[in-house]
Symmetry: D2
Subunit: 423 residues, 4 copies
Amino acid sequence: MDIMSNTVRKELIQLRRKFHQCAETGWLEFETSIYIIEFLKSQGLDLKYGKSIHGERIGLPSKLKMDAHKMQLTQMKVDFDTSEILEGYTGAVAILDTQRPGPTVALRFDIDALGLEEAKEGHRPFLEHFASKNKGMMHACGHDGHISMGLMLAKSLASQRDQLSGKIIFIFQPAEEGVRGAKSMVDAGILNNTDYILSGHIGFSKKNQVVCGTGGFLATSKLDISFTGKAAHAGAHPELGKNALLAGANCALNLHTLTQFGGGMSRLNVGILMSGTARNVVPDHAHLELETRGETQEINEDLLERVYRMIEASAHMYDVTYETKLMGSAPSYQFVSNEFTQHIKDIFGELDLEIIEGGSLGGSEDITYMLRTVEKKGGHGLFLLFGTDLVAPHHNPRFDFDETVLEQGYNCYMKIVTDLLEI
Amino acid sequence: MDIMSNTVRKELIQLRRKFHQCAETGWLEFETSIYIIEFLKSQGLDLKYGKSIHGERIGLPSKLKMDAHKMQLTQMKVDFDTSEILEGYTGAVAILDTQRPGPTVALRFDIDALGLEEAKEGHRPFLEHFASKNKGMMHACGHDGHISMGLMLAKSLASQRDQLSGKIIFIFQPAEEGVRGAKSMVDAGILNNTDYILSGHIGFSKKNQVVCGTGGFLATSKLDISFTGKAAHAGAHPELGKNALLAGANCALNLHTLTQFGGGMSRLNVGILMSGTARNVVPDHAHLELETRGETQEINEDLLERVYRMIEASAHMYDVTYETKLMGSAPSYQFVSNEFTQHIKDIFGELDLEIIEGGSLGGSEDITYMLRTVEKKGGHGLFLLFGTDLVAPHHNPRFDFDETVLEQGYNCYMKIVTDLLEI
Amino acid sequence: MDIMSNTVRKELIQLRRKFHQCAETGWLEFETSIYIIEFLKSQGLDLKYGKSIHGERIGLPSKLKMDAHKMQLTQMKVDFDTSEILEGYTGAVAILDTQRPGPTVALRFDIDALGLEEAKEGHRPFLEHFASKNKGMMHACGHDGHISMGLMLAKSLASQRDQLSGKIIFIFQPAEEGVRGAKSMVDAGILNNTDYILSGHIGFSKKNQVVCGTGGFLATSKLDISFTGKAAHAGAHPELGKNALLAGANCALNLHTLTQFGGGMSRLNVGILMSGTARNVVPDHAHLELETRGETQEINEDLLERVYRMIEASAHMYDVTYETKLMGSAPSYQFVSNEFTQHIKDIFGELDLEIIEGGSLGGSEDITYMLRTVEKKGGHGLFLLFGTDLVAPHHNPRFDFDETVLEQGYNCYMKIVTDLLEI
Amino acid sequence: MDIMSNTVRKELIQLRRKFHQCAETGWLEFETSIYIIEFLKSQGLDLKYGKSIHGERIGLPSKLKMDAHKMQLTQMKVDFDTSEILEGYTGAVAILDTQRPGPTVALRFDIDALGLEEAKEGHRPFLEHFASKNKGMMHACGHDGHISMGLMLAKSLASQRDQLSGKIIFIFQPAEEGVRGAKSMVDAGILNNTDYILSGHIGFSKKNQVVCGTGGFLATSKLDISFTGKAAHAGAHPELGKNALLAGANCALNLHTLTQFGGGMSRLNVGILMSGTARNVVPDHAHLELETRGETQEINEDLLERVYRMIEASAHMYDVTYETKLMGSAPSYQFVSNEFTQHIKDIFGELDLEIIEGGSLGGSEDITYMLRTVEKKGGHGLFLLFGTDLVAPHHNPRFDFDETVLEQGYNCYMKIVTDLLEI
């Protein structure tokens, strides 16, 4: 059975390459969002974007970076107001309401790129002229493919709306990297009254495999810390200084002692520590960036509480002040096989794919906010992994994938949605 | 001029050896105090002892140690109440009031021994049968000699009371080691209305030298810290524990970063850290003993304030509680040459000794409480060093001194007192 | 079916109480070993003990402790040489050789007590007069019950030797606490040519349950560390000292940062840190006791390698020397269901017990050396948990158990051995 | 007595302002050096510059910074080869050889500016149009005044060469800030056969005071450290990383415990710590910048040795590699009053200034290399402080001084040189 026309196949690849070129990092998906909205509007879908789809956003880039990225954008002529988007209210939500009674199915696609300089030599996107045009930004995690699937699904399902009941919500989520965007959208209420939430990721499995139901998502929190002390001449009057560097160094060291929990695995990493201005001055400032993870939500919360206590104590130790800022967060999520997942596994039997039940991403993804939100109200969630061959691992400057995975993912989503909503 | 009879010379040595034998550490000078009081009473002096000569005592040994020492005392028959002495209100104050108008001169002698096991082989006190009879206690700092001088001065001056005016106060101070006893006596008011305070120390200079005026005393504080956390099985549930060992270790480490002051030298030493019960249990207790020192009073106080903050912060860091206990303290003291010290230097010219003006102990001594107390009210203080040959350095199990230093010290004190008080 | 006579039932309890009274900690099981040997000899079994059943022993108590314990032993008159036992070559091995062809089955019982002061008030062993007679030693982990089972099994099976084929080895292992004794016995070759190794533990499950097959044993290493520096007067010449306390404190702190492994759980605990002699002396010695654990053998080995590196570096940091001593170790062990364990589960069906397949001790036990040794040569191992009601948790001064568990354990072992060896 | 013509007075100020404008930091004094050479050549002095006046240079800025500074230089037409100067062989040495027998007197002036952005509002150099034209570089330590004095002295003395005997060496030293330039020039031998070395500094005393003889220079060393580990995903495989951040943090913390020396004061400051690239990556690099100081040369050397050991050990602790680079150094120097200094004090009596004998800079200055070099061979050194009113302290963006100090300094030098060399 070929449920895919050649036209769809080609357009999937075209779209993927188009978005690969305009790779934009989290909350800076200006052009990306505008293209997405343009495409979806042209399919006659109801659109929501800008402030209306966001609660409080965390982990925003600095105003400086935002302005700099806005500056270098190509002028685009569109017939809708982009001002909020250009303030970082990125992403979009499209609604296909059949006006017929039936369940509400949400599909979520993440759209942000990574802060990496894309490889050139021997790298297909470069050789075939669809490499990122934005310096230091690259789709090295396959989200360009996710956008492509999402847009084609919207197009196909919109054209079949007469054969469908219920409602479909297409969510194009910004800032998945750093687990920042999902919470903002969930807080804005975009998943109210949703019965099913589906999402997935390219890679993490072999070609022609689909992982039906993914768990093992670690709860995580991303934190920035700053310590502020007082500078002083280190030779003449060291005692007049308040040493923020030692506060930060001691904090980093002690934080790393916190990862032993009986209830499961946990992680802590201070990934950045920047402090001081000159060798002969008592350093008056230290900036740290860290993340915590936990196998369960409880472990991550317990760990985070200890982290906050240690930060406070480290500041007190050297009589400096401190500030913390939550830059990202996602809850844990475990896959549990149930009637719904079993049913999906069964209908996947019609696809020419090897089906694996239950997989693990081995990391964190903020889709877990959405999965938990829907399941908490009695709905169902499912996260798929679309196996493919990779040239280089995720988050690598040479990352690229076999584009046939696009139709595989498209087919899987299509299968589920039509199963749930076909009249 | 021989201002010393042979009898005095002999008795000085006899007394020194008698007290060498009953070496008792700080606040445990039970027998020492009783012998001193007995001797002074027999000279017809007014005596004060027990609670009446003490304020709040710091750095007391445990009740267990106090009881243990009391147990092993030889029964002594004396005609005065020793009960308060046996509770650790040790030391004595004798007053020689001539009833004639004149200045009040206080002489201070420290009486405690050290917690050392005295050497045997080749060690004169052992060979000549006057070694300490108390296990683990030894006069290795010459305080036995100080007592001896003090008692003979009291005896001689009491016998000359008809040729003297004013008042002489003989202070036999306990617990100088660990800088504990002086504050307690000063707080009890024993130096109220005192015009001159004199004290001195055997050693720290060459034979036949006397250092007339000593300074360079460092301010110091002695602190005990305990951290109390919560034990837990380190394998099964490490997160249920509150780790007092890490709180203590981190505290010790960070405390040692605190000793840079523009205004002068400072010191900090965590000398003891004891923590934990078993390798598979999260340690629930840590005990630390430390000292601080400062070239000036201000530096030591500033340092101590930082120490307290760090202790508090270290406890908070690992969510444990803490207690601190001040175990000793002494202010700094600088020698300043003035008319009085110049005059003493002049009259010392009659003694057959090399006179050095201004010396330094290079450490801490709680006589500084007394020097500061008297000088603050316009009086004068003087601390002498009586040079002598030492077999081994102070605080060494083989410490012993050339006993001719006893008459040297006796003569110096005698010279000053008679100069000040002779009719 | 009552496979247990009332006599056996009573004797199990009598033996348990007898050994509860002579609780002796690891490598000090002098009286315990002698009683065991006496009992086994009286059943006509071949005995091995002393040096012949030991390789290199680790984690021995100090000579001082060994001598002290020997001193307070009641004089015992026995007709065999106890001299090696009194040097700490404790434990015993009894062989029941039927002289008929058949498999060799080893049963292992651990015999040591814990370094705990047994509770009194409201504590049955105290109230019923079978509390430990040894100060600071107590059977708080049920090994007294294990001995009792082992001796009664030996007695019963010896009396049935005519109905049995093959060979039975009864292993009474010392020093299980601290995972010290198993390696020594395995190294001595007592398991050469063994087909089955069985062992078990009282508790860790509910009354009337038997856990058939236990895994989740963590690999573990126990390490003592000493740092040796140089003492110096902390006020006068701190720079002449080499600070072993700071080396130890910094070592402890940094070691606790080492427990993050992608491959599974790990643990590290510095349980003891003792350093220093006086607050005004730069500490010249530090003693640390720690343990590591790992979900897999590889993790524990990797962790241990990092630990050794950190110890070396910590010493270098403060220019002190160091020594390490391995005080205990056990490999990890996972339960894997197989034909043999399935068969045992089946025959257990005849016992009036709830059978649970696969359990976890949630800690470490050096039986894993024996399980791995036998399985490596193609034999089979099985570790059982005998459920019972506990008054207080293991390793608690109020630990006591419902003694009916003794017959339950006896029956389980009896069932397996007769199944394997009955003619 | 007015030993100063109005012309000299004006030219001193003009020169100071000219050099204030072309403020250039250490080893980048390209324009500064060229102007100095031009001026000195025009006085008919013998000149040495470029590689000939340098040994091994330490604390060089990066090639990038050097090239960037070269780029922004105004084109200058001069009749000598500037190529070596533009490679950072900055500074100049002028020799005035009278060809008459007599002593050799060296005068040293430091010429570098600081890496500061000069103040504008309310700041005289800005208001009167002589502020620094180089972004982020400013003469905030008065070296512009030192250059001015040096040039005018050269001019005046050259014009009086007929009345002088002996030889005068004018040393214009680069890179005094960070104590980098002196060693390089001394190593090149510019002080061989020198009998007197004179230098001084504006400020550090009140207006109309001159400090005749300055000591209290601390020995110092400036060190850069880099630790290189291995990056790894902190969530998935932390154990594959080698954490350079923790190595650096632990190093910084422990280094700060090293500053207690019986022989005198010492200082240590880790002024900069930069580590890591992203919060979810184990940091693979850390960069630290530190300085040590010591009251004596011995203390600084002892401290530095301990610093090197700790760096090595910190690297080993986390299994990372390290590199260190000496970026600056100067020995200690104490002022000792002697016949020469006494003589200078006497002849200063003729100047209308308050004379203070013996002062302290309270910091480090690499003139000490020169002072020690000359005195070691039996020559004499002297460092003067020229008191003046300051608007803001040294090293402050608002630093400016009362320019009458220029003639004060000029007069002092002139007095000494003519006294020593007048026929």
